[in-house]
């Protein structure tokens, strides 16, 4: 297992480097000149060129790439063109909002999906199954930002139970968590719908396997056959899809953070993009790529821990 982990770690490193190259390439070919936007359209070309030189924008790409990566490794992500403040802390503070939000949403989604998916698979064809599938269809169809708005209308506007938006900061942890509940629900519902369907079909597929019949023939009861034999086999496909879905979760966060006016990574990305703050965008996108790739690496290891075939002969 250790050998497999090391191999996957090497693959992870290679993927990250590739990701950084692609992000850098995409960002550098995008039109729009940071110096120009910072100084506004009235600025003289000389001033713009001087600023560009100061910020090192006029250097050849490989140098700028090396400068960016070198800095990043040392924790210095450069200065935000828009705010002039160091990017590191800027992203860190936005992450402090988005990370817990994503985790709460994913936990909510996974919890609902595993329970509902297994329940539906176990009662295939009966009303319980139909209800779960119907609900998941609706869950898939409802856009998360509309759901967010509806939640705001119900809980904030009419019931006044939760704040309509904004984030009090982690100074007061309880109120901060409170502010994340509605966004987490809005974000989690779509993921729950997707994962419920995936769980249901994975469990159904496992239930139809020959070894389930072998287990029943050995005198294993239907219930323990489901938990001890079917579910572990269903876990691998479920985890894989969960890994892939995380990227969509972050995308969803961009919009939901907007509805609830949360100072998260999503909102920061949106604002940086619109005011050409390319360095912030570069680091932000790189960060999401790192999170997604790292998470899929963890999912990969988890699947290998479950399924010996994935470990190959390095069992």
């Amino acid at each position: 297992m250790v050998l497999y982990a090391l191999q996957r770690l090497a693959v992870l490193a290679a993927t990250l480097v590739a990701a950084s190259l692609i992000v850098f390439a995409v960002m550098s070919i995008l039109p729009g000149n940071a110096a120009q936007t910072m100084l506004g359209s009235t600025a003289t070309p000389e001033a713009v060129a001087a600023l560009a030189h100061k910020l090192g924008l006029d250097q050849p790409a490989p140098v700028r790439y090396a400068h960016w990566i070198g800095g990043a490794l040392r924790g210095d992500f450069g200065l935000s063109y828009a705010y002039g403040s160091p990017i590191g802390p800027l992203i860190a503070s936005s992450l402090a909002v988005s990370a817990p939000l994503a985790i709460m949403a994913m936990a909510l989604a996974a919890g609902i999906a595993l329970a509902a998916g297994v329940y539906a698979a176990d009662r295939r064809g009966r009303t319980g199954d139909a209800i779960v599938m119907g609900a998941s269809q609706i869950g898939l169809a409802v856009p998360n930002f509309w759901l967010a708005i509806l939640l705001v209308i119900v809980f904030a506007v009419s019931l006044r139970l939760a704040p309509a938006g904004g984030f009090p900061g982690w100074g007061e942890p309880m109120r901060a968590l409170g502010a994340l509940i509605l966004p987490a629900v809005a974000l989690g519902v779509v993921q729950a719908a997707v994962l419920t369907r995936v769980t249901r079909s994975a469990v159904l597929e496992a239930l139809n396997e020959d070894f389930m019949r072998t287990a029943r023939a050995k005198g294993v009861s239907r219930r323990s056959a489901l938990w001890r034999h079917a579910l572990p086999n269903a876990l691998v496909p479920i985890l894989t899809i969960m890994g892939l879905q995380f990227a969509n979760l972050i995308a969803g966060a961009i919009v939901v953070e907007n509805v609830f006016v949360l100072p998260g990574l999503g909102r920061l990305m949106l604002q940086s993009i619109s005011n050409r703050d390319t360095l912030v965008v570069e680091n932000g996108v790189m960060l999401t790529a790192i999170i997604v790739i790292a998470l899929n690496f963890v999912v990969d290891l988890a699947c290998a821990a479950i399924d010996p075939r994935l470990r190959g002969l390095a069992a």
Partner: protein, 329 residues
């Protein structure tokens, strides 16, 4: 008598109404005896085996009587069946590649019945499993027990399945096409192993197969099934030497015999095995049988009994003696 089955019928409740898969199955099996169940695809042989284990699909309705060790199994509560399965009756399946759980070690799966029925701890059961794997002559049983199924060959996995089945020394083992997916040389060894284990433990065997020759070599008695019906049953030598049913005889002559029949035209059976719901009032084989007469198409064939242990379901069963052609090599 260890097992007495009478008028066993299995219907699958589908959207298009009930489909009769097994109809009127009556047979018996004594302690230590081996019974072959032969039939082509759609004959209902596997469903018969699953009915005995109580493992028929959810939309199946089983009727008739199955008495095992004097107890009536149809309608038995699930908990009672759980106690039987794997302890008193065990089953071996056809596809060794998928019949084992890929995520659990082989030893743990062989040990599972011991934990369930003999209350052994996991460790003790695992050690016993290693002995069982050695007993079924698996090379290096220690390694095999710790290995995962994907690391074993088809033959090795089927040996593990056999070890799993005989773990609690059941009184009856049902083997559903245990060697169909294996190479001929491996099949011969597995069948010889099963014979050896039966001789040692005196357990009864029900061998389900599409290959009459496999059953001929390893069973005392045989029942031949077609479209859910038992067409003929009796001791193997007698059935092979003097088949009293046109279907059995057709099966015997349709199979090429090595070294004997090159160039000689095989006796073919026109058409193909019916899908069950096509069974009309008459004999299901009527359309393909070369002895068909009008009555065959209108009335179901009667059970013609030749002796306590020998019957054929055919209107012209008694005439089969004279029409018999020399069979076999």
């Amino acid at each position: 008598m260890l097992l007495e089955v009478s008028n066993l019928a299995v219907d699958l409740m589908g959207t298009a109404g009930a489909q009769r898969i097994v109809s009127g199955g009556t047979f018996a099996l004594d302690e230590g005896e081996s019974l072959g169940v032969v039939g082509e695809s759609g004959s209902g042989k596997t469903m018969t085996a699953l009915a005995l284990m109580g493992l028929t699909p959810e939309n199946a309705r089983v009727s008739g009587s199955i008495r095992f060790e004097g107890r009536e199994l149809t309608g038995l509560r699930e908990e009672a069946m759980l106690a039987l399965r794997g302890d008193r009756i065990a089953m071996i399946f056809q596809e060794p590649m998928t019949a084992l759980n890929p995520l659990h070690r082989v030893g743990a799966q062989v040990a599972e019945p011991l934990v369930l029925h003999r209350g052994m701890t996991r460790e003790a059961a695992f050690d016993r499993a290693v002995q069982l794997l050695d007993h079924v002559r698996l090379a290096d049983p220690e390694r095999a027990a710790r290995a995962y199924p994907f690391a074993l060959s088809g033959g090795e996995r089927q040996r593990a399945m056999i070890a799993m089945a005989i773990g609690c020394s059941p009184r009856l083992v049902i083997a559903d096409e245990p060697t169909t997916a294996l190479d001929v040389t491996v099949q011969a060894r597995i069948l010889a192993l099963i014979d050896g284990l039966r001789a040692e433990s005196g357990m009864a065997l029900m061998l389900v197969s599409h290959d009459l020759a496999v059953v001929a070599g390893h069973c005392d008695r045989v029942i031949v099934m077609y479209a859910g019906l038992i067409m003929e049953s009796g001791p193997v030598e007698v059935v092979l030497r003097e088949p009293k049913n046109p279907y059995t005889r057709a099966l015997l002559e349709a199979r090429p015999q090595p070294g004997a029949s090159r160039g000689r035209r095989l006796r073919t059976i026109p058409g193909s095995p019916p899908i069950h719901h096509e069974i009309g009032a008459g004999c299901p084989f009527a359309g393909r049988c070369d002895l068909t007469i009008d009555i065959c198409r209108t009335t179901p064939p009667p059970e013609v009994r030749f002796s306590a242990d020998r019957l054929s379901r055919c209107h012209r069963a008694r005439e089969m003696g004279s029409l018999n052609m020399r069979t076999g090599a």
